[in-house]
């Protein structure tokens, strides 16, 4: 960080907001009104929606107040822009002190390049190891050479967590005498009944591809094991896409598509466009992540509920698509890493967790029991999350398996839905890409 910029930060003592480059970045500076800031911090965030960018601003203000007016200048990015801009800024000797770093394709290369500061000592000091169980915290760990995810030092701490499941319309369920399924067979029976009765069973959209991966991941979660899904994502123990669990899940995915369990027009609908279809009563269920809970809650209130993918057999294991949100990391651009760590501690503090909960988001860690109200959407979501957390049943986002595999996996799933390929060919294509990614 240049001295000129620090001087500039010190002199601006009020909250400012404005658009920066390309309209995709909003810049805000926050400091206590009457203090002269001894230091300044720059924070790049992917919290780009009004709710979470508002939380970031509030937290930056309270941090400034509790740290002698230390100014926090935070810039809001679209998630993809953040991933593309951060490495290039750091390589040029610029960039933020603290940034949210995507674990799937950015964190590893940044660790390898020495651009991030290890948080091991800070985690001990601030108790970050206690926020999440090891299985979730390890998603922010990489070996020193950046090649091995899931082990080594801790490079980021998340404030949020995510889980994918099924929002359901209570009125439609009650009207047809349906209840939340406890096994895959029950679930399929419900889906078949709804289709027969002319009700769209599951709303989601595969046009922009990502929901195809989530739907497949949910089904795969019912057929896989903790060991396999971890090995596949962490790229260890010769994991391969050519696995029976992948084949079973693909066959089930095709079966559901052919049986009409997915809503009509699913292949021409964007993922986010499925949510308003569901909230308008256009389908009995919505396959979506917990991040949509706020919108669903706003539109439907407690007329909506939430459940997780049931197991193949009662009492069986399911590893749900999900994980941790973008974690906060300290870059090698930080002149005062200790101060940067204090900012992260503030961003993942109880105060931050409370604000995220109030906004309907899913903060990292277990949700307090007093927050769970039976019969409400958020109550069912929090309860489902706590159950999955306790059972170590949070799976992964499957496109984390290799950089660039998103397009290949989504493409093969779209082909499977349209009958343009078969399971063997899809598995072979995926495995070839996955194997080649180790050589790239």
């Amino acid at each position: 960080m240049s001295l000129d910029r620090r001087e500039l930060l010190k002199r601006s003592g009020v909250v400012t907001a404005g658009l920066a480059v390309g309209g995709s970045i909003a810049t805000h500076s926050v400091a206590a009104q009457d203090d002269v800031a001894p230091e300044g911090l720059v924070f790049w965030t992917g919290w780009n929606d009004p709710v979470r960018s508002g939380i970031a601003e509030t937290l930056a203000t309270s941090f400034a107040e509790s740290h002698d007016g230390t100014e926090v200048q935070f810039q809001v990015f679209q998630t993809e822009d953040l991933g593309e801009t951060l490495p290039r800024a750091l390589e040029g000797g610029q960039g933020p002190d603290v940034a949210q770093v995507n674990q799937s394709d950015v964190m590893g290369p940044l660790v390898a390049a020495g651009r991030l500061v290890s948080l091991d000592d800070y985690a001990e000091e601030h108790g970050w190891n206690e926020i999440l169980p090891e299985g979730l915290l390890s998603r922010n760990m990489f070996s020193e050479d950046g090649s091995q995810m899931g082990e080594g030092s801790l490079w980021g701490v998340p404030a949020e967590t995510e889980i994918v499941g099924f929002f359901y319309n209570r009125a439609i369920f009650e009207e047809h005498g349906l209840s939340v399924p406890t096994t895959m067979a029950e679930f399929e029976e419900i889906l078949g009944m709804l289709r027969e009765m002319g009700v769209e069973p599951i709303a989601f959209g595969t046009l922009d591809q990502w929901q195809a991966i989530h739907m497949f991941g949910e089904i795969h979660g019912a057929y896989t094991t903790r060991e396999y899904i971890d090995d596949l994502i962490y790229r260890r123990n010769d994991a391969s896409f050519d696995d029976q669990s992948i084949r079973d899940a693909m066959a089930k995915f095709v079966e559901w598509s052919e049986n009409g369990y997915f809503m009509e027009g699913v292949e021409g609908l964007n993922g986010d466009d499925a949510t308003p279809v569901f909230t308008a009563g256009g389908a009995a269920m919505l396959m979506q992540g917990s991040w949509a809970a706020g919108v669903v809650n706003q539109e439907m209130g407690d007329e909506a509920g939430f459940f997780l993918m049931p197991p193949v057999e009662e009492g069986g294991d399911v590893y749900h698509v999900g994980g941790v949100g973008l974690p906060f990391a300290i870059t090698d651009n930080a002149e005062d890493p200790d101060l940067a760590a204090e900012l992260i501690a503030h961003l993942v503090s109880e105060e931050a967790r409370g604000m995220l909960l109030e906004a309907g988001n899913l903060p990292a860690g277990e949700i307090p029991e007093d927050r769970i109200v039976e019969g409400t959407l958020t109550g069912e979501l929090y309860s489902a999350w706590n159950t999955a957390l306790e059972a170590d049943a949070i799976g992964h986002f499957m496109d984390w398996a290799a950089p660039g595999i998103f397009d290949v996996l989504a493409g093969e799933l779209q082909k499977l839905m349209a009958g343009e390929t078969d399971v063997d060919t899809a598995v072979t294509t995926l495995q070839e890409f996955y194997a080649a990614s180790f050589e790239a």
């Binding site: 390589e91 290369p109 595969t206 027009g265 292949e267 964007n270 290799a402 397009d407 493409g411």
Partner: protein
């Protein structure tokens, strides 16, 4: 085409032009003349060097490396390996073929959709043509991403107006952008819609330089509208057609924004194109060297295609 004008004013500084008397030139003036042109050129040359030459050179260097796009420490020199890999890469081949399939939509269709109203408004001397021109040109100045988002909404199979109307008429419409058969023609049609206003304006400009006497002579000879079009309009628009086809070809080969905003290359690889594959390889798969090699190949293919069009459709004396 008008012959280039002779730079008489320059000649007077170094010798004689026509009957102008010789002007004695001092030695200091001669030395100044050596530097002066460079001073005029310097601003443009600096901008060209900074924003064209150096990035091009940098891209060529990058394309010969295996680099993750994050840290230079990880870059290794691999020579032409990235180019060999691209040529052998089935997904790149698919993307290239999809760009070729887009040519009728991006190149020919907008030219056709532009030249017909241009010729009609010109030959029939329609009133209010200026408003018509402004309306047709509007899509061309809209950002491609916005066009993609709007068309994705129009063609949405669940709540889009197109399928609602078709269903009310008793048809069973496809999902357009999500349909393996219709996705590529649909993004092609959107691309054509975005470009035909530009073609129209270029053709209108070209038509205005065709002497009206030619049309009057054709009418005196009994030519109808079609005959006027084939014997006067088309030959008179030869240069404009070359320019339009050349620019449309560049747009077809570098197609990205509309496709990124509508299908993201899907379903499957049906609308995967070279520019999209380049971006996904460089930034999605963390293979910046390979992505840059694809960018260089894309540039070379575009350059060759444009040169071929200008060669065959340009002025005979060019």
């Amino acid at each position: 085409m008008q012959p280039p004008s002779k730079p008489d004013s320059i000649l007077t500084t170094t010798g004689t032009a026509g009957n102008a008397p010789a002007v004695p030139v001092s030695s200091s003036r001669r030395r100044g003349a050596g530097i002066e042109p460079w001073l005029y050129l310097a601003p443009g040359l600096l901008i060209f060097t900074a924003f064209m030459a150096l990035p091009t050179l940098g891209s060529l260097v990058l394309s010969a490396t295996a680099w993750n796009g994050v840290s230079w420490d990880t870059a290794t020199f691999v020579g032409f390996d990235n180019y060999v890999r691209a040529i052998q890469d089935g997904r790149f081949q698919t993307a290239f073929l999809n760009n070729i399939k887009l040519i009728p939509f991006y190149v020919l269709l907008p030219a056709l959709l532009g030249i017909i109203p241009a010729a009609l408004t010109h030959q029939m001397r329609l009133k209010g043509a200026r408003w018509f021109q402004a309306g047709l040109f509007l899509p061309y100045i809209m950002p491609g991403v916005l066009i993609g988002v709007v068309w994705a909404w129009i063609l949405n199979p669940v709540f889009g107006p197109v399928n609602k109307v078709l269903k009310n008429l008793g048809f069973n419409p496809p999902t357009w952008l999500g349909d393996f058969t219709w996705a590529l023609p649909t993004v092609g049609f959107i691309g054509a819609w975005a470009a035909y206003g530009f073609c129209y304006v270029v053709f209108i400009a070209g038509l205005q330089k065709i002497p009206s006497e030619l049309y009057e002579a054709a009418r005196l000879d009994g030519a109808n509208l079609w005959r006027e079009f084939t014997t006067v309009t088309m030959p008179g628009l030869r240069r404009e057609i070359a320019v339009v086809l050349s620019i449309n070809l560049i747009n077809a080969l570098r197609a990205f924004d509309v496709i990124r905003a509508t299908t993201n290359g899907g379903p499957g690889d049906e609308t995967q194109v070279m520019a999209l594959y380049m971006i996904n390889s460089a930034f999605g798969a963390n293979q910046a060297g390979y992505g840059t090699a694809i960018a260089v190949l894309l540039s070379v293919i575009t350059l060759v295609g444009s040169m071929l069009i200008l060669r065959f459709l340009g002025e005979p004396d060019e």
